[in-house]
């Protein structure tokens, strides 16, 4: 309702006189039967409230404009509100216009200016009253413990004396600094605040105790302010604030607010964390019925790890289900590999319980199983039939030497010779020679020989990368994606043939850029003696999270169902080829925990 309508409803002329507005309201109210005219009553109230608001604005326009939600909330002295008012001549904001009581913080995000207001209000008093010095770097602070008159009693646990030395607001400030401003150096890209270190935790708890004790003996107003302020900073500083949560929640009864319509967002955030913390603590006790399941899922897994033997499937399901439903933030404690192992439907479990729910996600995780680890073995050809003893002329030997040399140059670049290859990787050099002999004997041309040995080198690069993992695996997979792409240009069948048999069709034209990148990588691996005979690798599998599946769908433009099929080795060659390339691309550009697992099975 606008003020102008309000005056009409109240039947008075526009006035800043609060008493006149109330009188008019009372007259109108007495003239009506509110039970019979509910809407009229509502209108009258609205008119009264609008008029009063307008009148107050006239009374003090500046106060209204520069309204600061936390003004006057600063230091809460032991003397109570009276003393506080003396210390802060600037009056508290007009209570009815005040909205700070609802100014609950967002669960995370940038510090709110209101927060700094509370602290900066206290700041000018620091030096005068106590000589409390500005923030120090953690290292210095650790050393300064003995000198610092405030931290010492806290560290010794003598909170009673610390009160005498340190007023409540100083504890608040110290706590704020510990949690949110004096942060130790941390790795880039780490979003979470680092946990409190031993001495930091002890100090933070000491300050918190003092703040809580003050709150408990303070007036309702101060109590409510501290309640809101603390909820906000603990939420902002999560997970750094974890050790402080229990004691604070106990004093302010945050848990009694849980599930209420009016639950403040910061409190809701903290309540969820609190329950998570408690559950984690409980489940770590070996007596807990789900302890084994917890231990199983949190144990770091390696490729080839199996499900724990003595773990009941029902327990794991219950744990996963419960964690996902109630404490989603706890899932990061689990090893994704293990979760994937258990997440797989097992026979009758399909379509029941949590799994069916999981399937309702837009794109569920897909288990990617390596279809074909080995198409062939690059054993030395002597495993089949020994090469027929052929006597070669000098010219033929020279010609073969040139062909081998050219092939090596094509694969590794001109700086690598057969001699060089012999010294760096003698078995590979032998493979080149042997294949040349075979090629000569069965009359294959030079290009066929070169393609054959190139395939062998590519195979070795690939197999080594699968074993070595790490950055090498990423580099090799990036290269392979380029090769698949090149193969696709010749046709989907050629692409799939290369994927399945590791044989690149001779019609495939590999772009020069790819070839030169390949050469560099090959030389690097050669120098590191990484092109030895391939080891046999057991087939593995990996979970492709929904997030990646979604990316693949976007990249390929292929519908969900076909992508799923392709990942399971079904569907058309074109689909499988496109999905494989997209999956490599997507995985390379992703930082999830399963990244390496996926790259190792592609």
């Amino acid at each position: 309702m606008t003020p102008s309508q309000a005056w009409t409803v109240l039947k008075i002329a526009k006035t800043p006189d609060v008493a006149a507005i109330r009188r008019a309201y009372a007259e109108r109210l007495k003239a009506m039967d509110i039970d019979r005219d509910v809407d009229g009553y509502a209108r009258l109230r609205e008119a009264r409230d609008a008029a009063l608001r307008w009148a107050r604005m006239q009374a003090k326009p500046e106060a209204e404009e520069e309204f600061d939600p936390f003004a006057g909330i600063t230091p809460l002295d032991e003397e109570g509100p009276g003393a506080e008012a003396d210390a802060h001549p600037e009056a508290a904001p007009e209570p009815e216009a005040s909205s700070w009581l609802y100014a609950a913080p967002a669960a995370s995000g940038e510090a709110d200016p209101s927060l700094t207001t509370r602290l900066s209000g206290a700041a000018p008093k620091l030096d005068v009253t106590t000589g409390f010095s500005a923030a120090q770097a953690p290292a210095q602070q650790a050393i300064a413990v003995a000198r610092d008159p405030f931290t010492r009693p806290v560290l010794l646990g003598l909170e009673a004396t610390s009160d005498a030395v340190m007023p409540a607001w100083a504890h608040e400030q110290a706590l704020y600094r510990l949690l949110l401003t004096d942060l130790p150096e941390q790795d880039d890209g780490q979003d979470d605040l680092p946990p409190l270190q031993g001495w930091e935790e002890a100090m933070a708890l000491g300050h918190l105790k003092a703040v809580l004790r003050h709150a408990e003996t303070a007036s309702v107003t101060a109590f409510d302010e501290i309640d809101n302020w603390l909820a906000r900073i603990l939420a902002d500083a999560w997970p750094r604030s974890a050790p402080l949560l229990e004691p604070a929640a106990a004093v302010f009864g945050w848990e009694s607010e849980r599930g209420q319509v009016s639950e403040r967002p910061a409190v809701a955030f903290l309540n969820a964390r609190l329950r998570g913390l408690r559950f984690r603590e409980k489940v770590q006790d070996p007596q807990h019925p789900l302890h084994k399941a917890w231990a199983e899922l949190t144990k770091p897994a390696q490729q080839g790890s199996r499900k724990g033997w003595f773990v009941k499937r029902a327990d794991v399901v219950q744990l996963l289900d419960g964690v996902r439903k109630n404490f989603p933030e706890l899932e990061h404690h689990f090893d994704p590999w293990r979760v994937a192992l258990w997440d797989k439907p097992e026979g009758d479990d399909v379509g029941t319980g949590w799994f069916s729910k999981g399937r309702l996600w837009l794109f569920g995780a897909i288990i990617l199983i390596q279809i074909l680890r080995f198409a062939f073995a690059d054993r030395a050809p002597d495993t089949s039939a020994p090469p027929p003893p052929v006597t070669l002329s000098a010219a033929e030997i020279a010609q073969d030497g040139k062909i081998i040399g050219d092939a090596i140059a094509a694969i590794f670049g001109p700086e690598i010779t057969l001699e060089g290859l012999k010294s760096l990787q003698p078995d590979l050099a032998a493979l080149f020679s042997a294949n040349r002999t075979i090629a000569r004997s069965d009359g294959s041309d030079e290009a066929a020989y070169r393609a054959k040995v190139h395939d062998l080198v590519r195979e070795r690069m690939y197999m080594t990368a699968l074993v070595e993992k790490g950055p090498l695996l990423a580099d090799v997979q990036r290269l392979r994606a380029d090769l698949y792409r090149a193969a696709r240009k010749a046709g989907a069948a050629q692409c799939m043939a290369f994927i399945r048999t590791r044989r690149l069709d001779r019609q495939v034209v590999v772009p020069d850029a790819v070839l030169s990148a390949e050469r560099k990588l090959a030389v690097r691996m050669l120098d590191a003696h990484q092109l030895g005979p391939p080891q046999r690798i057991a087939p593995g599998n990996a979970k492709v999270p929904g997030e990646l599946v979604e990316k693949v769908i976007t990249l390929t433009g292929i519908p969900d169902e076909r992508v799923r099929k392709a990942m399971n080795g079904k569907g058309s060659d074109a689909d499988q080829c496109a999905v494989t390339i997209a999956l490599i691309d997507a995985t390379l550009g992703w930082k999830g925990k399963e990244r390496e697992g996926i790259l190792s099975v592609l």
Binding site: Y25, A26, K30, D39, R45, A218, S219, V261, W361, L362
Partner: protein, 572 residues
Amino acid sequence: MLIGIDLGTTNSAVALWQNSENGGEAVLVPNALGGLLTPSAVSVLPDGNTLVGAAALERMAMKDGATATSFKRLMGTDRKLKLGRKEFSAEELSALVLMSLRDDVTAHTGTCPTEAVITVPAYFNDRQRKATRRAGELAGLTVRRLINEPTAAALAFGLQDKEEREPFLVFDLGGGTFDVSIVEMFEGIVEVRASAGDNRLGGDDFNSAIATAVRGRLDPDGLLGKIDERRTEALLLQAAERTKRALSDAQEAEFALTVDGTRLSTTVTASEFEAQAEGLIKRLRDPVVRALRDSQIDAASLSEVVLVGGATRMPLVRKAITRLFGRFPNSTIHPDHAVALGAAIQGGLIARDGGLEEIRITDVCPFTLGIETAEHSTRGTVQEGLFSPIIERNTPVPVSRSGVYSTMGEKQKQITVRIYQGEAREVSGNVFLGELKVPVPPRPAGEVAIDVRFSYDSSGLLEVDVEVPLTGTKHNLMIIDEEDRKAAKDLDARRKALAALKHHPREEATNQMLLARAERCYEEFLGDVRAVVGDRTSQFVAALDSQDPRRIADAAADLSGLLDMLEAHPPL
């Protein structure tokens, strides 16, 4: 005649509005024993007669005491209490108390009242309010209005001087419930801005705290474990009540009780009591903070903190209040009388009595009211049982608000509107009030909308209207829950059953009280003392039988003198 009744957990009181030349005033009506407060206690004697008030309370700790107290805490529940051979619900016991109060007014004024204003804790929920209303009807009173206790107290407080008042806070800690209301008075308007409370916190809890603290050291031989559990509890709680009162004036007090001739006693210090009650004191803060938040009023700008309820007499409660508000509370109104007086004033207002013309009260609905909904979660599942508020708590009443909801299923044929009251986001944490089944035309999900309108009147009655705009059909529901429907059906039968109970004649109340006291003392002592009590009691009963007033008066004086002496100086 319209009377005002404070139906309390521990004590009840009745008042009426009396017109006079200078405007009129509310006055309390004394009971048969001359007291202004009637203990909310009901006892059934072995002969089947019922006793209400002080005499019933005397019987509480007796072997076959068959006495019920604090039954207000069970209002709105199905629990039955067994007294002697009969079972009673909390509302029936309340009805007996109301009948006794009604009879006091009849005796005092010569007219039998037919209508009443009854007070309820502000934080009483809809079920508890309904039960209270039924109790009034069982007692043969038409309940014109239920008003909130702190609102009644505010009326009594505000009308002392009829001055303008900036918002003040009524802190009402009774025997079993705790309420906080923020009230403003101007131009003859009494406006409740917000109410909050804890309907499971009161003076009784402080008694329990004392009893728990002393039990071990009071009774090292486990004597109390050998007698009936109910009796043990009654003995302990009565002793705790005495100790609590004594601690209001002293730094330490004796906690003593006599069981089958053995006197058990120990000492409780004020600081021990304080430590024991710390948890209860902490619970006082929450409703205060909530009421202040909801009304957006700063504690510092409150003009007064007005104390109501007997439990606010405790020094430790006053100390806590002083700390909470940073000032001393106002205790100018009688903590036990204010609520009944306020109810009588409200009665006067309803009857439009002279001197009260220009007063209007506006109250709030202290609970959130809404309906059950379901929604699609981010995971694609459907989450059911969610609470969608329509009327937010502390909205001024009467009020009418509506919300629009739509179907969720394909070709859904019916929408069930389930109505709840409470503050939890999930309906399972709230109080179910009733439901309405609304047929809708089968259409694709989300295409059929309904308009749900809640109308809440100043007596706390909720009406729900559902409209289907697509078809133009309208459905209406006065909230009558299952219990209410069942109760309404047999209300008459129950009223008759209660009326058929034999009540001790009012004029014998004093003698009944004396007899109950004598019986209690007889049980407490053994040996010679018991013999003397028994002897004097027989003489008194013989005097009663003789119907000779002089003889009765002498015997009564004799007996009560003996009892006074025994209670003041118990023989060890």
